[in-house]
Subunit: 228 residues, 2 copies
DNA sequence: TTTAAATCGAGAAAACGTTCTCGATATCCG
DNA sequence: CGGATATCGAGAACGTTTTCTCGATTTAAA
């Protein structure tokens, strides 16, 4: 097995974001009984350029066969391995609001290597409650928990106003990476990985596209999606 | 007021996604009593390149003053207007699970032009329940609701397996845009805007970055974020 | 009033990501 | 068995995004 995972190389963020899409398509194909898959197949299903799919898949280090493509299960495993989805990583969650609860409920995260093992909040009413099998602990316990359990990932699902303070607590405990769902720009030391999940990015994009269409349509009440 | 909003032009997706970040920083500065802001200021706060900030802001059509920058409130309004955040758009939600409930609870969406006015689910146990002031209605009522209220946006917060079916219902009702939170690749007609919000994109990126660091560290237990 | 400093705005250059092109190779079909 | 075909893999070409450079403009200070 060739082990050149290209891990030293710079991987385009865009490619990284496409891999999960391929991964899901592969799972669907596997469920449908397929055993072989080519880049052209994936490209057709997903409406992408075949060369782009190939370049993305090459990143994982897998080598395909001409005229055949890849063995489906093997490709799935190469992607899992490349992304680290087959190596469990523990995470702590800060913020037991509705979003935090939703994240605690996502059992599929575990299948992708991410296990939320503890949950913290500052609200005395929430502390002590059980949410999806985990007890909400006082936020001030978070740094010690991280320090003692060597948790890799901190998930922030607090209001924007508290996010920086929570991030500081996580960093203080020695967290390696922060997955930030709060709409706030966080400051973290250089060594800490910061992954922002900002709904407003997406909202801005959607909103702008709607607006530009409205303007192009001359605000005359044209509706799309019914006939054309 | 110059009205060249560049609406006909192609706007880089990346720029579009940065605007909300500027917008939030501006709100913070306004709260701190600032009245003027330059691209250099924003770049400094956000750790970005000043020229990039300037190019992004130019897209909105605002014209700045040399040596001064922009009037803070004016820039805020130009961004709001550019993104359409000052023009309300109604939305329907499908899927009243934990994520759907969280979205229904996000009152700030309203301040960004997005109002979720109705909520649908297929689960008989959920139908009839009130969630954040909106009653869960049977999924099959969705198309008629969209048709009669001329709702622009459909938000999908169902499991992946139901997402395409729900999208079809929305399209059938004449929806203009779909904001998809389900981890699924949806097929929609050319006229319909599709905005995917896929947690697994983000998870893949985070996971990969953690893995490549683990590998670089030689799996020898080095921890980051504590001292260095 | 004159000079210096900071910023905008626009065009050029560089970096990056995507798409195209072509040769090598494995499978399928006649 | 031999030719046609589909695919991978690699490098070139292309387009887009980011960064650099420079002139124009406005404010502040000397």
């Amino acid at each position: 097995m060739k082990t050149d995972l290209h891990l030293g190389r710079e991987i385009p963020e865009a490619s990284l974001r496409r891999l999960p899409v391929y991964y899901r398509s592969l799972q669907g194909m596997a469920a449908a009984g397929e055993t072989q898959v080519s880049c052209a197949d994936l490209a057709r299903v997903l409406g992408l350029d075949p060369t782009q799919v190939r370049k993305d898949i090459e990143m994982t280090g897998i080598v395909g066969k001409p005229r055949v493509g890849y063995e489906l299960g093997e490709l799935t495993r190469w992607i899992e391995n490349f992304l680290g989805w087959n190596r469990p990583k523990e995470a702590v969650l800060a913020g037991a609001g509705s979003l935090g609860s939703a994240l605690l409920g996502y059992e599929k995260f575990r299948k992708h290597g991410m296990q939320i093992v503890a949950c913290f909040d500052i609200d005395p009413d929430k502390i002590g409650q059980q949410i999806h099998g985990r007890e909400v602990q006082p936020l001030m316990f978070l740094p010690d928990f991280v320090r003692q359990s060597h948790t890799l990932v901190g998930v922030i699902a607090t209001p924007a106003g508290s996010a920086q303070k929570v991030a500081d607590l996580m960093v203080g405990g020695g967290i390696c990476a922060i997955w930030n769902f709060a709409p706030a720009h966080l400051q973290v030391p250089a060594g800490v990985i910061l992954q922002n999940e900002d709904l407003y990015h997406s909202l801005a994009s959607l909103s702008f596209k709607l607006e530009s269409r409205r303007v192009r349509a001359g605000e005359n009440g044209i509706r799309y999606g019914e006939d054309n």
